[in-house]
Symmetry: C2
Subunit: 382 residues, 2 copies
C-alpha cells in the first residue's frame, strides 16, 4: 500500500495547487525536483540543497545501478541514509538513459539488456527488476520502466514503444504488489511520441490503472518546443485529477509555467544545475552569461530579487572573476543560485495559484524566457 497522498487545495482553470504527502514529508505542488543523478546535486551536499529550499530530490536508478550498485546502497541503509537527504526522493527508472545507449543495449519484450559504460559488464532491466530495485532503495516515488523513443520517429515505431510501455506498466503494478513493506508510490509514464492519437490512447489506458501518479515522458528529446507543449496541453489536463502529474525532464521557466497552466504538478530538469556549471544563470530578468566581459565590473548580485547564498553575499563581478579563474567555487555558487531560482520560481507559481492570479504570472514568465532562450532543455532524465 502506497504511503503517498495527494490533495488539491485550489485551482485556476486547469492549473492546480496541492500537496503531496510522502513517507519522508510533504511536497507543496507545483514543485520542482532538483536532479541528484548520483545521489547529490552536482556541487551541493544535502544541507546545501535544503538551504536552496528543495522539498524533494530526484535520483536516477540507471546511474545508481552502475555506480555504486543497488545492493550496496541497500546494505548501507537505503537511499535516504546513503545520500543524507532526509526529504522525499523520486527515482527515475533510467529507461531514457538505457534507450539512449544505442548499440550498447538490446530490447525485447522481457526488458532491456545493456552494458555498463564504465566496465562493460552485462546488466538487465525488466519492468519487475526496476520496481524491485526502487523498493529496495526505499524511494518515496518510483517510476516504471518505459520505452522512451527518440525524435523524429515513425508512427508505427512510436506505437510499438507506447504499447510495450503499457504492457510493462501492467507488469510493474503486479511487481509493486509484491513489495507490501515498501511504502513508496509508483508512477506510470505516458509515451506516444508526438502523435496525438497515440498519446491519447496511452493516457486513457494508463488512467484506468491504479497508479499513484502519472508522468508525461518522451518530451524534451530534441523536438521543437511547440511539439512538446502540444503534448502537455493535450494530455496533462485529462490525467486523473486526484493524482499527481509529473512532466519529466522539462524545462525552462517558460516551459514549466506553460505546463503548470495545463495542470502539471511535478517537474525535474538538469537545466538549472548544468547551466550553472557553464556560467549561465537564471534571473527574474532573464538569463545571464556570467563569463561575459560586461559582468567583470558589475557590482550587483546575480539577481537582486534572489536571496540565495550567492546573491546574499557576492556580486556578478566576483562570480565572473571566479569563473574566469576556473575556481570550483564559481560552479558551487552558481548552482546554488540556479537551483534556488527554480525553487523560488515554482513557489511564485504556487502563490499565484493560491491567490487566483496564475494566468498573468504564467504569461510573464513565458514572455521572458521564450523570447530569449536558445538554451537546450535536454535533460538527463527524459
Amino acid at each position: 500500500m502506497s504511503g503517498l497522498r495527494f490533495s488539491v487545495s485550489s485551482t485556476e482553470g486547469t492549473a492546480r495547487r496541492g500537496v503531496l504527502v510522502t513517507p519522508h514529508g510533504e511536497v507543496q505542488t507545483p514543485a520542482f525536483m532538483p536532479v541528484g543523478t548520483l545521489g547529490a546535486v552536482k556541487g551541493l551536499g544535502p544541507e546545501a540543497l535544503e538551504e536552496c529550499g528543495a522539498q524533494v530530490m530526484l535520483a536516477n536508478l540507471y546511474h545508481l545501478t552502475l555506480r555504486p550498485g543497488i545492493e550496496r546502497i541497500a546494505e548501507l541503509g537505503g537511499i535516504h541514509a546513503w545520500t543524507g537527504w532526509r526529504g522525499p526522493i523520486l527515482t527515475d527508472s533510467g529507461g531514457f538513459q538505457v534507450f539512449s545507449l544505442g548499440d550498447l543495449r538490446q530490447i525485447d519484450e522481457q526488458g532491456v539488456r545493456f552494458r555498463s559504460v564504465h566496465d562493460g559488464s552485462r546488466l538487465r532491466f525488466t519492468p519487475e527488476s526496476v520496481v524491485a530495485s526502487q523498493a529496495f532503495l526505499g524511494v518515496d516515488v518510483a517510476m516504471v520502466l518505459d520505452e522512451c523513443p527518440p525524435w523524429p520517429i515513425g508512427e508505427a515505431e512510436a506505437e510499438s514503444a507506447q504499447q510495450r510501455t503499457h504492457r510493462w506498466a501492467v507488469r510493474s503494478l503486479e511487481e509493486r504488489s509484491r513489495h507490501d513493506d515498501w511504502p513508496g508510490a509508483l508512477f506510470a509514464i505516458v509515451q506516444g511520441s508526438f502523435y496525438p492519437e497515440l498519446r491519447a490512447r496511452a493516457a486513457s489506458e494508463l488512467a484506468a490503472l491504479p497508479f499513484d501518479g502519472f508522468a508525461i515522458g518522451g518530451v524534451s528529446v530534441g523536438e521543437e518546443k511547440s511539439l512538446g507543449r502540444a503534448v502537455v496541453s493535450q494530455i496533462a489536463p485529462g490525467l486523473p485529477a486526484d493524482r499527481p502529474r509529473y512532466l519529466m525532464g522539462v524545462g525552462t521557466p517558460a516551459d514549466i509555467a506553460f505546463a503548470v497552466r495545463h495542470g502539471v504538478d511535478l517537474f525535474d530538469c538538469v537545466l538549472p544545475s548544468r547551466n550553472a556549471r557553464h556560467g549561465t544563470l537564471f534571473t527574474s530578468g532573464g538569463t545571464l552569461r556570467i563569463k561575459n566581459a560586461r559582468f567583470a565590473t558589475d557590482p550587483r548580485p546575480v539577481d537582486p530579487e534572489c536571496s540565495c547564498v550567492c546573491c546574499r553575499r557576492v556580486s556578478r563581478a566576483f562570480l565572473h572573476h571566479l569563473f574566469r579563474s576556473g575556481e570550483i567555487t564559481a560552479k558551487v555558487l552558481a548552482t546554488a543560485h540556479n537551483v534556488r531560482f527554480f525553487l523560488d520560481f515554482v513557489g511564485q507559481l504556487r502563490e499565484a495559484l493560491a491567490s487566483g492570479c496564475l494566468a498573468a504570472t504564467v504569461d510573464d514568465w513565458i514572455a521572458l524566457y521564450d523570447d530569449e532562450s536558445p538554451t537546450s532543455s535536454s535533460s538527463e532524465s527524459c
Copy 2:
C-alpha cells in the same frame, strides 16, 4: 594608525592563548586562517566558510594582482565587499609566489619585475607598492614584501636575501605611514633560511621596529621537517610578546601543534583544502584516503567526532562513491570537512591552553600526525 589590538589571556610555557582585534572582528588565537587565494576557499563560498567556523580568511596579493587586478577590486568597494567575506582578511604579499617564478622574474634593490603567467604582461612589485595595494584593498592585515629563498641555498645568498628583506621591511613601514586612512595592520617577515645566526639577526632587527605583528617565513619550502621545526623553536618564543606571531604556510596538525607550543598565534596552509580535493581527509584518528576501496562500504562518517556539513549527513561510503564518480560535490564536502577539522583542531589547542593542559594535547597530535604523514606541507603561501 593600525586598528589591530592583541592581548594574551593565558600562557603555558612559551605557548599563549590570546585575541586579535581587527577592523572586521576578533580572532581567537591560536588561529588557523583558511586560504582563499583568489578571494574564496576553493569549493566554499563565504557563508560555507563561516559555517566551517573560520574567523579570518587569507588571500594572496600576487594572485589578485594578476586576476582581476587591484584597481578592479578597489573600484568594487574593496576586498570585503568584493569577496563577501565579512570577517578579517589577511593578504600575503605574494613574495613567495613571485620568487618562485624563476626566469619570469628579475629582482633588484628596488623590487621585483615579473611577467604575468596568464597574458605575459609586465608587472612590478616594490615594498611600497605591495603595502599600498593591500591598503587600497582594505585588508585587515598586510604582509611586507620579502625575499623568500628556496632550499637548499648557500649562507651568503641566504644572508643577502635576509638583509634585503630587512631593508624592504623598513621601506614598508615608511609606506605604511602614508596610508593613515587605512586601519589595517602590517606584519614583518623573518627570513634567514635555515641558518640560525641569520634567523636570530633577522628576528632581533625586525623586533626593534614598530610592526603590528611578526611572521616566520621561508619555512615549508622543501626542507626536512626537523629544519623547519628548529627555526620555529629558535625564533618564535623570542618575538615580541605583545604582538601576534604568524608561521606562514605551515602545515600538518603536528606542525601546527609544535609551533603553538613554541608561542605561534597564527597559521595558514592550503593543506586542508588541497588535500580534500584529492580525497585525503584529516580526522581525529589520522588521515584517511577516501578513494581507497575499503571505504566503499564504510557506513561511518569521515570523523565520528566531527560535526561538519559532511560528517553530519553522509557516510565515508557515500563520499567514496562521489569521489569515484568524479562528482564535484565530493570535493565540496571534503573541503568543508578538512577546513572544519583544522579549525576545530586549533580550537582544541585553545581550550587546552585555557585549561593548562596544552603539553599533553600537543604530544598527542604530534604522535598522531608525525607517525603517518608523508603528505607534503608545501603551500601556496610560503
